[in-house]
């Protein structure tokens, strides 16, 4: 029997360092955040108490109003997504390698990154002074937020497409617009439609949160009833939000899967 000479395993000091740093941050975080550990013990009882208040005797008479407000939220999400698509589509191309000069490209990318770093609710508060406490504010905030993610996904999809058709359209004398239309777009369509639907799902959830600042919709209604501690109505609202959101997620997700598989 031959003796195997196993090469000695190299220790990667970068990996060890990373483990130590992450460990230190986690321990440090526990140390500095002042958590009242004693109250944590009361949490399960409290959760049960509020669940009981909300769901023991839901006020079903509020369902029509809740549905109406949810519709408003979904409409806000829809309008926001459509505006976001219209803005992000050309901007995404301007951020893609091979289709725009480096300064423009990096400007776009930094712009997208900044937008992604700011939560929609902060964007909404920022534009509130101009547009007022209206659903339009919510839609615009979602539109701006969508540009950050859709723009990034867009240029990544464009840069990732098969370069063959691009070379073929260029070789047949196509200009930039024609290369994008016939060299890039046919390969990137499923990605784009999938991103748009996914962002719509995200916006439906975000639109409920935006209600918290009073721009209307289901979130607005939820805040009011929570403030007045009308738990039986809050319970109904939560049920409606969860069902509607899950329904939209399911339908949109099914469409996305069909698009991605049907390639």
């Amino acid at each position: 029997m031959t003796v195997l000479t196993i090469p000695s395993r190299r220790r990667d000091w970068r990996r060890s360092t990373a483990v130590i740093i992450v460990g230190a941050v986690v321990i440090g975080a526990f140390w500095t955040v002042e958590v009242n550990w004693a109250r944590l013990a009361e949490l399960p009882a409290q959760v049960l108490h509020y669940l009981w208040l909300m769901f023991s005797d839901p006020d079903w008479s509020k369902v029509p109003e809740a549905l109406g407000q949810t519709w408003k939220s979904v409409a806000m999400a829809w309008v926001g997504t459509v505006i976001g698509i219209l803005l992000s589509f050309p901007l995404g191309f301007l951020a893609a390698r091979g289709f725009s000069p480096a300064p423009v490209r990096w400007g776009m990318r930094v712009g997208f990154a900044i937008i992604r770093a700011v939560p929609e609710i902060i964007i909404a508060i920022a534009i509130l002074s101009v547009t007022g406490l209206t659903p339009l504010t919510g839609a615009l905030a979602l539109a701006i937020g969508s540009v950050g993610t859709l723009g990034k996904w867009g240029y990544e999809a464009i840069e990732g497409v098969d370069p063959g058709p691009i070379e073929a359209t260029r070789a047949s004398g196509g200009n930039i617009a024609q290369i994008l239309r016939w060299g890039v777009w046919p390969s990137a369509t499923p990605d784009f439609i999938s991103f748009w639907l996914y962002r719509f799902e995200i916006n439906v959830r975000s639109s409920a949160v935006l209600g918290l600042i009073g721009v209307g919709g289901i979130g607005d209604m939820l805040t009011s009833y929570t403030q007045f501690r009308e738990w039986s109505t809050v319970g109904v609202l939560i049920i409606v939000v969860v069902i509607v959101t899950m329904g939209i997620d399911a339908v949109s997700g099914a469409i996305r899967r069909r698009i991605v598989e049907g390639t």
């Binding site: 098969d162 070379e167 359209t169 070789a171 047949s172 004398g173 024609q178």
Partner: protein
């Protein structure tokens, strides 16, 4: 749908290519072509042979300006490539069909849309963006498909076709340009031998029936012998052989392949 046959595509006069001391150096520092001088006459069928990395791909791509030349002069048709502007390059490319090893079709769209890419330089940008091609452009596309024998697939998705069929669509795309010159970069390297011969036959017909100048990169000696009338051998970016097929003996190939 029946399309009446009009004059054969490619009625325009074929182009010549004239290279003088052409050198191509890439940004990476790699020298792909060294002082290459060639004259290709209108209507010739030329095979360019050499090992991979010998500069065949670069040579063929200098002709339609996909690869810019570093020094020397290159004249294709009436265009001077060493000084051509972007707009001129697009017009030049509009007259030159190109066929690739990997077919380079937009797989998720129809065969017709792929063939109509050949009309991009010959119609307005707005029409091409909307896919609203003129009836005359569509007719050219149908004729091109018919010429390579796959008109029946016109509405199919490109991805549903076999490799040989996809390469025929790519040839139809090139024909749809009504080209004066066709460049083929390893057109049969991804195909099985019988299909390879069918595709090479198509290219030969383009040359013989339409009189279009055809320049084909090949790495297989027997294909180059059966389908070219003239062979150009490249080795490490330099022309090491240039002559009629008859004079390309085994010792010549040994020299090319080293």
């Amino acid at each position: 749908m029946v399309v009446e046959h009009t004059s054969p595509t490619g009625a325009a006069s074929p182009w010549s290519v004239s290279m003088r001391d052409v050198t191509v150096r890439y940004a990476s520092g790699v020298v792909a072509l060294k002082n290459v001088s060639l004259d290709i006459r209108p209507g010739e069928m030329v095979s360019v042979v050499g090992l991979s990395g010998s500069g065949k791909s670069s040579l063929i791509r200098t002709i339609n300006g996909l690869v810019p030349i570093t020094s020397g002069s290159l004249r294709v048709g009436g265009y001077h490539l060493e000084s051509a502007r972007a707009g001129e390059l697009r017009r030049l490319r509009g007259e030159i069909g190109m066929i690739f090893q990997g077919f380079n079709l937009a797989k998720r769209t129809s065969v017709l849309n792929n063939v109509l890419v050949g009309r991009l330089a010959h119609t307005t940008t707005l029409r091409t963006l909307l896919g609203a091609y003129r009836a005359s452009d569509r007719e050219i596309a149908f004729e091109a498909l018919d010429r390579v024998g796959i008109l029946s697939k016109v509405w199919d998705r490109a991805s549903s076709l076999s490799g040989g069929q996809q390469q025929r669509v790519a040839i139809a795309r090139a024909l749809c340009q009504e080209p004066r010159l066709v460049l083929a970069d390893e057109p049969v390297a991804s195909l099985d031998p019988p299909t390879a011969h069918e595709v090479m036959d198509d290219l030969r017909r383009i040359n013989q029936d339409l009189g279009i100048t055809v320049i084909t990169n090949l790495h297989l000696i027997d294909l180059a012998r059966s389908y070219g009338t003239r062979i150009i051998g490249l080795r490490a970016g330099e022309v090491v052989f240039d002559g009629p097929v008859e004079s390309a003996s085994d010792s010549v190939f040994a020299k090319i392949y080293g």
